[in-house]
Symmetry: C3
Subunit: 138 residues, 3 copies
């Protein structure tokens, strides 16, 4: 059986936005016991990551590290028409993930104790980000 939905995750500037609970809520209504959950982000200037969900400082340190790794003040980008945070966003999304693949066992995502799902927003302005969830299983 295959089920699909699309979550909309609102973002308000650079940083990590959790959607684990949204995915769990949808998953719990599908009545499938096992299978594979794919989360697919339909954008190229933000990304998906699985990271620690316990200490919010982790997400702030992650955001700041990528600010330094892919600095907006770097010289020489060609693609600048959409602002200084656009080409850096494409690079940061390439360095992280557009899709996540998570086994579902006994009706639940097989996440480790400290793992949470996040949209990593790389742009400064607010956006509505679309995450396609697909569950394939039995």
């Amino acid at each position: 059986m295959i089920r699909n939905t699309t979550l909309t995750v609102p973002t308000r500037g650079k940083g990590l936005y959790p959607f684990t609970r949204n995915a769990e809520d949808w998953l719990s209504k599908q009545n499938l016991t096992g299978g594979l959950l794919t989360a697919f982000l339909q954008h190229t200037s933000c990304s998906l990551v699985i990271q620690e969900n316990a200490d919010p400082d982790v997400t702030l340190d992650l955001r700041d590290f990528f600010e330094r790794l892919v600095p907006e003040k770097a010289a020489g980008f060609r693609h600048t028409a959409e602002g200084p945070d656009d080409m850096t966003s494409h690079i940061r999304s390439t360095l992280t993930h557009t899709s996540l693949s998570i086994p579902v066992i006994s009706g639940e995502m097989a996440l480790g104790t400290w793992q949470g799902l996040y949209v990593f927003e790389h742009r400064s302005r607010p956006h509505q980000r679309r995450v396609v969830l697909q569950l394939m299983g039995e």
Copy 2:
């Protein structure tokens, strides 16, 4: 149902080579309405990325950024027998992706408007790169 094929993507030096249309062509012949498309690259010195397909400058800026992030002139690589662009290629491929997972809905990849599929070649010489496509669905 499960279908597999292997695309060959010719590359002519460092940069991004699109294969969205090749994947769409194959997909359209499978007569499956829904499922998961996995693209898997059988190499460790190039990679797969999903990135903006509108402005070609994005792919050039991406290529150049990785040239700076993982410089060939970096000191101290042990693995140098295959040339100065080999160990850097392994690192660049590790920082990007060997597989992509894309939901298929109503017979089409659920890509966002600006998303395209690319082989990111990290080596200088021409290569023939093999991308296994697998469609699992109904």
Copy 3:
């Protein structure tokens, strides 16, 4: 059909630890001819990569590159309570992979000749790392 197992990969400090053979051994007992193998790591301070399995120097150069790319001596992390190698581990895992998706064809992973599966340990102390393997197929 869906099959799951969990591998435990012991690590002894930073570096890459192969588990290709463990995955092959389990796969060979499932009697499925085709499908998708998902490897999912239940941790946020180590990661999964597919890399060259021929020259062990590649894994050492990879380890050392990430040591320089995400240095422990970088200023200004907030998340420091678990030691200097913890926030860097979260970043290094974000820059690499938590899951791998590998087509299975004719009962075997469709890996390229030189591709191997690795747990990339980012912490200094020994750990027991859990990798969930899921095979979905026919």
